[in-house]
Amino acid sequence: MGDNSADTYTGLFPLSIIEEGKTVKVVKIIGGRGLVRRLYEIGLLPGAEIEVVRNSKHGPVIIRNKITGTFSLGYGVAKKIMVEVMQ
């Protein structure tokens, strides 16, 4: 978990543009401390795998994490979560 070297920035996208049905890996979260902490606490830690259940493009997303369950994230939050698409 969390083993991402800083130089693999290729293939890093904000969660807000990921298509529905894709599974992604959280790489990092760009945001204020409170938000970052909140996301960590609900299991969106760097390295965590999440499935994009719903994405209304330039709007909010619904994601599912195997461990902590389903959450809805506003667009403002989704664009701050940088992820890597998994196969």
């Binding site: 606490e41 461990i67 506003g74």
Partner: protein, 690 residues
């Protein structure tokens, strides 16, 4: 039980010790349902001292012990993010409840146990109410409760809150736990972090921090995790040198770990949780799980087009339901109060001024409140129903995209919706918004949501002037309100609240069939909180208005002034209205209309009854009089003005308690200004067209 007892807990120490028990949990775990069952619905809703988050407490007696249950806001972890969470943590740390009950959603153990771990690390005496075990069973989850109990060394009581299963065991558990020692709990964070914790602990042992309310290991852990509140506590005590040393230790640790300390620590907690669930939870495969059902429904309900259409229909049904069901009750109350009770009070053998004070002042105020209640209650019933099914979480999701366009997050849709019923609870419901900027901006636009008190005014005027297109004209007024709200939001985004909303993070609960009892309890609670806040203000204001009507610059006019327009025209209210009459010259409103608008500041629906007094006609005959003093255009501009001009007293008072007097005055002035401009625009544009 009364609020007075609750507000002075210090006097209760000697006789019988009052046992404080806090109830915590993630959102959507059934906490309010369980709290209601525990207290038998006898909760007292008040405010947390200093801040305006609702505090729910209830007293019960268990085996001779008096227990005070305190319902804390729903939280995910003990690191505060929104106002609600700050309160919850503060309470546990500073008020040190004897026992903390954590309500857990058994279908989502992993997420819920995170809070458990944090509570255990604080060494609070914890009891777990493992709620929703009925759903867990349906989901094919087999939880080895005994195993988990032994491992964590705490009591775990399985419950089904909505069916009152396990509630007795829970109360017994409270008594059992009273005299047991606080649990000892420790997660091993790995050698490097453990060493840093110990180094910090050694520093802490030398300072005076016993009153922080937690053990030194907990404080050390939180300092490692950059807990700003704890750091602040140290700074306040002038312990900056401790913080400096901690920074050094952290820097040291950081270089050794090469990774974020915070992330590692949270990971460790989740690893521990996973080790627990792997050992004590078995998953059987089930054909139709709640998750697959929810997913299937969500494919439609969160669909960007279909979902939005369903949302709009639901909204329409919600308002239609609340108005239609409430209107017979409202009418009945109206007849009872302004008819029977009013004339009864007048027949009492009292001095006329007293009986008038009671009948025309106090009763009038009470009447306004009572007539509100059916409407509000049914609206709250509808909203609580949607909330408990899980649908409101989807509404937030659906609206986010649109709300973003005006710089707000999807979460503000719910306060705005409530605003169509009444602005007071709408403003209160903004508290759950994590973002202060969103909260202020939402409060600024809530008064433009046309509440149910304004509807009688539109009904009266449209009946006289727009008989054919009544529905359409009323809808256009609502539309103007919403448009003004949008423009205001855009404007203030540019001017004051720079930047974007920070968005929201929200749990998506599975769809559930709500429990009727829970919905009624929730709605009643919301009504109660409205009455507490708005009640006294409306009644007091009504009495003040009453006094200003029977007194004038020349002295006491007599209570007949209320029925006699000639006398009333010499009252303070009339004098003031005449004074500002020139301001409203463009609208051609005479002092009577202006007086009614002044009365309407108490509660907007009063405009109608004041007009009838001022024109000296029965409400039923008001239409004939109005049709001579207004044209359709001036009537429409008056409707627009009443829609927009200043929040009513109760709303203003609520705003004041939430964001202070200065901001409230600003909002009142801004809205008066907007109302004037819009009403003027209606007149001039309408004048050009017609």
């Amino acid at each position: 039980m009364s609020c007075h007892e609750l507000s002075s807990p210090t006097t209760l120490g000697n006789k019988h010790e009052l046992i404080k028990v806090a109830i915590v949990g993630n959102p959507n775990v059934g906490k309010s349902a369980l709290f209601n069952k525990l207290t038998g619905g006898n909760a007292w809703v008040g405010n947390w001292p200093g801040v305006t988050v609702e505090k729910k407490t209830g007293r019960i007696v268990i085996e001779g012990h008096e227990v005070e249950l305190v319902d804390l806001p729903g939280i995910y972890g003990l690191t505060p993010y929104s106002l609600d969470e700050v309160i919850a943590r503060k309470f546990i740390l500073e008020e040190r409840p004897r026992i903390v009950i954590q309500v857990i959603n058994a279908t989502n153990l992993e997420r819920n146990l995170y809070l458990t771990i944090q509570l255990l690390e604080m060494n609070v005496k914890l009891i777990i109410a493992l709620n929703m075990i009925d759903l867990a069973e349906k989901e094919g989850l087999e939880i080895d409760i005994n195993g988990l109990m032994n491992q964590l060394n705490i009591l775990i009581i399985p419950t089904i809150a909505v069916k009152e299963v396990g509630v007795d065991n829970l109360t017994k558990a409270i008594i059992m736990e009273l005299n047991s020692p606080p649990p000892f709990f420790k997660i091993n964070y790995g050698p490097e972090i453990e060493e840093a914790i110990q180094r910090i602990e050694r520093i802490l042992d030398k300072c005076e921090i016993a009153d922080v309310g937690a053990n030194s290991r907990w404080i050390a852990i939180h300092l490692l995790e950059d807990d700003k509140d704890i750091e602040e506590l140290f700074r306040k005590r002038g312990l900056e040198d401790v913080l400096r040393k901690v920074v050094e230790i952290k820097r040291d640790l950081q270089t050794r770990l090469g990774e974020s300390i915070e992330v590692l620590m949270i990971e460790k907690r989740y690893q521990y949780i996973l080790s627990l669930t792997q050992k004590y939870v078995k998953r059987r495969h089930v054909k139709e799980s709640l998750t697959t059902f929810t997913d299937r429904l969500d494919r439609i309900l969160t669909h960007p087009i279909l979902g939005l259409m369903i949302f709009i229909s639901t909204l329409y049904l919600l308002f239609k339901f609340s108005f239609d069901v409430a209107s017979p009750l409202t009418n009945l109350l109206d007849v009872l109060i302004s008819g029977h009770v009013h004339s009864f009070l007048k027949t009492l053998p009292l001095p006329t001024i007293i009986s008038s004070l009671l009948a025309d002042g106090v009763l009038q105020g009470v009447g306004i409140l009572l007539i509100f209640i059916p409407n509000l209650f049914f609206l709250f019933l509808g909203i609580s129903f949607l909330e408990d099914t899980g649908y409101l979480a989807r509404v937030t999701f659906l609206s986010d995209k649109w709300m973003n366009k005006i710089g707000l997050s999807g979460r503000v849709i719910i306060p705005l919706l409530i605003g169509f019923g009444c602005n007071v609870p709408a403003i209160l419901s903004t508290r759950v918004l994590g973002d202060d900027r969103d909260r202020r901006l939402t409060m600024l636009i809530i008064p433009f949501m046309s509440c149910s008190a304004r509807l009688p005014i539109y009904l009266l005027f449209t009946l006289v002037f727009f008989k054919e297109n009544q529905m359409l004209v009323i809808l256009s007024i609502y539309f103007i309100g919403v448009t003004t709200a949008i423009i205001t939001a855009l404007l203030f985004n540019k001017l004051l609240f720079k930047g974007q909303t920070s968005g929201y993070v929200m749990d998506m609960p599975p769809y559930l069939i709500p429990s009727v009892g829970n919905i009624f309890a929730k709605s009643w609670e919301r009504i109660k909180s409205f009455l507490v806040r708005a009640g006294s203000i409306i009644v007091i204001m009504m009495v003040i208005i009453w006094a200003l009507s029977i007194f004038g610059p020349e002295g006491y006019l007599g209570v007949e002034a209320l029925r006699n327009p000639d006398l009333l025209s010499r009252s303070w209210i009339a004098s003031f209205s005449k004074l500002i009459e020139p301001l409203f010259k463009p609208f051609n409103w005479d002092w009577r209309v202006i007086s009614s608008l002044l009365f309407g500041f108490v509660a907007k629906e009063v405009v109608v009854s004041s007009l009838s007094v001022l024109y000296n006609v029965e409400e039923a005959d008001l239409s004939t009089v109005l049709s001579t003093s207004f044209t359709p255009l001036t009537a429409y501009s008056l409707m627009v003005f009443t829609l927009l001009y200043t929040p009513c007293m109760a709303t203003a008072a609520t705003l004041r308690s939430e964001i202070g007097l200065k901001n409230t005055i600003f909002i009142i002035i801004y809205e008066l200004f907007i109302a004037y401009i819009m009403a003027y625009l209606v007149l001039s544009i309408g004048g050009l067209l017609l």
